[in-house]
């Protein structure tokens, strides 16, 4: 793994012929935690989806270098194999595929090795304990009938099991109550115990950040990074919002 894990150069992205991101530059080194904040519709989730390779999100220009290699032309599964993980804002329901079988099959693809059922079950139990998830969830169909909080926990469970080098958490804390945020945070802390792992946290609130050491904070407005700072920037946003960064004509709308 290279020290300079992720490098985004002048990245422009559009969705359904609408330009969302206009020239994003960002560098994430191994072990760093970056926070991306910004008002609704600024393009935060677009950045996450573009990094993960969602085919709906078209890269119009620029490049994404991960671990020394351009990944722009790679499909999502190849990116996952290289160690990128995104926790979805709205995890999809997949009937007929159990959460347990799905994670095991994803792990086998990731490592290219068969995983013994016993080893898998043990590891799964540990991760589920951290997230205070009942073991029976492993038998349930992936996300089917899960509540919002359960879905988010299942996303973090996958994060812990798949052990990526770069995790993108897209609004993982949104819609959760205080207890659920605490549990999810515990999962993220567990992930960060390995100091080589990096995190990009996309959020518009700050609750999930309380227990994490944030290295950098970026503010995205209208598809551009308008400000980069350290963790103190979060407090500033907390106090004053994004108003100062938004263009006046936009505010009037």
């Amino acid at each position: 793994m290279q020290e300079k894990l992720l490098q985004i150069n002048n990245l422009s992205v559009s969705v359904e012929d609408k330009k969302i991101l206009h020239g994003i530059d960002l560098e994430v080194n191994m072990g760093e935690t970056h926070v991306i904040m910004g008002p609704n519709g600024a393009g935060k989730s677009t950045l996450g989806n573009a990094l993960m390779g969602n085919p709906k999100y078209i890269v119009d220009g620029g490049d994404i270098i991960f671990d020394g290699e351009s990944i722009v032309s790679l499909s999502a599964d190849k990116r996952a194999a290289k160690g990128i993980y995104m926790s979805f804002q709205n995890p999809l329901e997949v009937p007929g595929v159990s959460l347990g079988n799905f994670i095991r099959s994803a792990m086998e693809h990731r490592t290219g090795k068969r995983i013994k059922l016993w080893d898998f079950k043990r590891e799964m139990k540990q991760a589920m304990d951290i997230l205070q998830m009942d073991e029976s969830y492993a038998e349930r169909d992936l996300n089917v009938g899960f509540s919002g909080g359960e879905k988010k926990k299942a996303e973090i469970l996958q994060l812990l099991m798949l052990k990526p080098t770069l995790a993108i958490l897209d609004e993982t804390d949104s819609g959760l109550d205080v207890d659920a945020v605490r549990t999810v945070s515990k999962g993220v802390e567990e992930f960060r115990k390995d100091k080589k792992r990096s995190l990009i946290i996309i959020t518009h609130s700050t609750r999930i950040l309380e227990s994490l050491n944030v290295d950098y904070t970026h503010i995205i407005v209208d598809g551009k990074i308008v400000e980069t700072g350290d963790a103190s920037l979060i407090e500033e946003i907390n106090a004053r919002g994004f108003e100062k960064y938004e263009q006046p004509d936009r505010r009037e709308q």
């Binding site: 995890p91 009937p95 007929g96 595929v97 799905f102 099959s105």
Partner: protein, 468 residues
């Protein structure tokens, strides 16, 4: 990837037959009184059966081919040798089955399954049963599992005469009449009152001769309060000429009895599968159909439940996967003919590579069936735009006091779901196969484990061309 089964490419020439000779559908040449009499004498039929066959032939000649389903123009009766008998007698020991035939069944895993998970096995090769055996402890309970032909002359002769083609009369449709005339092979099962057969019985049908027909008759009587799970498997190697399967299954479910009838059909893709299955259920009884249709060039398959006693129930769980060159018309029929009867239908169909799948059903609730309930749910998945998927469900309700629900859905695999799975490192093809297997889990969770695995392999094979 490991390959479990070698799958031959679909040979275009079967489809070309259609174009060569459009008007060649002439029954007289394929099937004559002489042929039917010959079959009857070789079978050593009782007199009533000989008459029954000839009567059926008459009906067959009068009836028209169906004018509503997939085309069967490619089925040229002149080319169908209706009766092919392998050079062997039925045995109760695999060691006595000719080597080549035994090998075939071994490759299909039948003797192994018999040792491990079945209470009895019947194996039919072309027109004849080559093997029939039932575990001693099951036989000791008074369960009869034998070939229908010897049963016709044995202790249960009267019972068979009383039931044979009473549920599916030869007048039902043209291919039922054909069956009545040339039927051959098949099994007879009788489960005495109160006996519960804990492990399944299985019949396996293998059609080996090119251009042949298979017309086995399965007759199952589950007496009052008894239980049975019967599994039917079918396969055939691929030839360039059309094969025909016009079997007939008649199931009699007694008072408070329960029968589960599972089928995984994987005929080769030159097969015309014109099979008729029907169950009559008495008071408090239950019929459960589990039906997977993967093979065949053309299928007409609609297992029917006649709910004839108060509180009788039927459940139908089905999956149909129509790939390239396949036109699979499947579904079910239910007749509610007694009070408080219940039917559940839950089907999935998948179309891919130009395949056509049609879900066809009818739910009839007669005046005799107040307080009846029916719920039909069918879902279809289109995997590309060269394929076709139709849903044709009919309901005819003639009592006020009924509760009838129906829902149908058609759609595609969601791109978002594929991306979600891919983002966890699963390649696109596998992600799609996973979603399709999940889509089919209504059926796989109803099957014994080894059959569910087999079915998922079939899906994977259709989706990716290999078995993982």
């Amino acid at each position: 990837m490991r390959e479990k089964t070698y799958v031959e490419d679909v040979n275009r020439s079967i489809y070309d037959i259609k174009n060569e000779d459009k008007d060649s559908y002439k029954l007289e040449e394929g099937l004559t009184t002489k042929i039917v009499e010959q079959i009857s004498s070789e079978k050593n039929d009782p007199e009533w059966m000989r008459e029954f066959r000839l009567k059926s032939l008459e009906i067959y000649n009068k009836l028209q081919v169906p004018d509503w389903g997939p085309s069967i123009e490619g089925l040229n009766m002149d080319e169908i040798v209706t009766y092919v008998r392998p050079n062997t007698h039925m045995s109760a020991k695999w060691s006595e089955v000719p080597e080549e035939i035994k090998e075939t069944f071994e490759r299909l895993g039948i003797p192994k399954a018999e040792r491990e998970s079945l209470a009895g096995v019947g194996a039919q090769y072309d027109s004849e049963l080559v093997y029939h055996n039932v575990r001693e402890e099951v036989a000791a309970q008074g369960v009869i599992y034998t070939d229908l032909e010897s049963a016709l002359r044995g202790e249960y002769a009267e019972m068979i005469k009383e039931h044979f083609m009473k549920l599916v009369p030869p007048t039902d449709h043209k291919f039922a009449a054909l069956h009545g005339a040339v039927w051959s092979g098949g099994s007879f099962v009788y489960v005495p009152p109160g006996v519960s057969v804990e492990i399944p019985l299985q019949s396996y049908f293998r059609l080996n001769a090119p251009g042949a027909g298979q017309f086995e008759h399965t007759l199952i009587i589950v007496d009052e309060g008894a239980y049975l799970h019967f599994i039917e498997g079918c396969s055939a190697p691929k030839y360039n000429v059309a094969n025909l399967h016009a079997g007939c299954v008649e199931l009699f479910v007694g008072k408070n009895a329960k029968l589960r009838y599972s089928t995984i059909e994987n005929w080769s893709k030159n097969m015309y599968n014109l099979n008729t299955k029907r169950a009559k259920v008495e008071e408090g009884g239950t019929i459960e159909w589990v039906s997977g249709s993967f093979g065949s060039h053309v299928s007409y398959l609609y297992p029917m439940s006649v709910l004839n006693g108060k509180g009788a129930r039927s459940e139908f769980t089905g999956i149909t996967f129509a790939g390239k060159g396949q036109n699979l018309d499947t579904g079910t029929k239910v007749v509610h003919n007694a009070p408080e009867t219940t039917s559940f239908v839950n089907t999935r169909s998948i179309s891919k590579g130009g395949g056509i799948s049609t879900f066809r059903s009818s739910v009839v609730v007669t005046k005799n069936a107040p307080k009846s309930k029916s719920a039909v749910s069918c879902q279809s998945l289109m995997l590309d735009s060269e394929s076709r998927s139709d849903t044709i469900p009919a309901m005819d309700i003639r009592t006020q006091d009924a509760d009838i629900g129906h829902e149908a859905k058609i759609g595609r695999i969601s791109d978002e779901a594929v991306f979600y799975l891919m983002s966890r490192g699963i390649p696109e093809e596998d992600a799609k196969a996973l979603i399709v297997s999940g889509f089919a889990d209504n059926v796989s969770k109803e099957l014994p484990l080894e059959y569910a695995v087999e079915m998922n392999n079939l899906i994977r094979l259709e989706m990716i061309g290999s078995i993982g």
